[in-house]
Symmetry: C2
DNA sequence: GTCTCTGCAAAGCCTTTGCAACGCT
DNA sequence: AGCGTTGCAAAGGCTTTGCAGAGAC
């Protein structure tokens, strides 16, 4: 509502992060910034490179290694999910909400989200044939999107 | 049958490869060796490093770059499948037989195969909710194997 | 004050590429 | 003989690491 209040605002809005301070983790401006960037584009899958670009736009000196280290910390804490979309780099998104899966178009690279329910009884079938438990891991599928198929 | 016949034997046993000669591809000793190694451990998922190791045991001068180039060629021809098992390197296996999927234990790294049928109606569901067609792509799942779960 | 985190530079790891010589067909 | 292929070395892309100083609590 108040246009001049942005700074104060953004300082109080990350309960996920502040909660970690009890565990010996510190909330530095850099870590906060990495988190803010991820949350701001929560529906996207950002590569480390994209995160670095956005983060440096707001804090020019911030070093690449710092971003990688913070991403690792956030992933270890379960706050961020690292996704393998089949390319040769990792993608990151905040781990808020429930699990979902991804499907990547092999032609145009588009990534869509799939609700967890799409798996149906697959986890049970996998368990019965292989003994493996899927747990809360996400699945990445590859295929061809409707647009690419029609051309 | 004839123990002294190994060389001649191994020269005639790769119809998949010889067929490609009609397409301008050549069958060099190096390419043949890469293929032989893959077929010899067809049930395993070999990393480029593992392939290089095995291939060099039989032909010491064979260069790393040659292995990578041959793997690329074989993948492009559809004779070999490159699989992403979630680690930071690629794994290869001969593309014989029908499609199957993989499940990787996040604790011990064990990889199991899953018959295609385990997917059930999943491809249809994915198509109806997202418009994506899975095609003949393989799926890699992550989970915990029975052994690791019981400890 | 302590102990984590940052910036910097260098290295690590897997894989690819340019180029001249080689060898399959 | 022609053209795909090899060996070699060097580079490329992404990510990690060692270290000293800075900063969060």
């Amino acid at each position: 509502m108040n246009g001049g209040d942005q700074t104060k605002h953004s300082h109080d809005d990350a309960p996920e992060l502040t909660a970690r301070r009890a565990h010996g983790k510190r909330l530095t401006r850099q870590r906060r910034l990495v988190w803010d960037v991820l949350v701001a584009e929560a529906d996207e899958h950002l590569s480390a490179e994209a995160i670095i670009e956005r983060v440096q736009a707001r804090m020019p000196g911030l070093h690449v290694a710092t971003v990688y280290r913070n991403l690792e910390t956030l992933v270890d804490e379960g706050l961020v999910r690292r996704t393998n979309l089949g390319r040769d780099r990792a993608y990151y998104e905040p781990a808020r909400g429930h699990r979902h899966h991804h499907i990547v178009c092999q032609q145009c690279g588009t990534v869509s989200h799939l609700h967890d329910e799409v798996l149906g009884k697959l986890p049970a079938r996998i368990r019965s044939v292989s003994g493996f438990e899927l747990g809360d891991s996400e699945v990445t599928f590859f295929g061809t999107c409707a647009t690419c198929r029609s051309s």
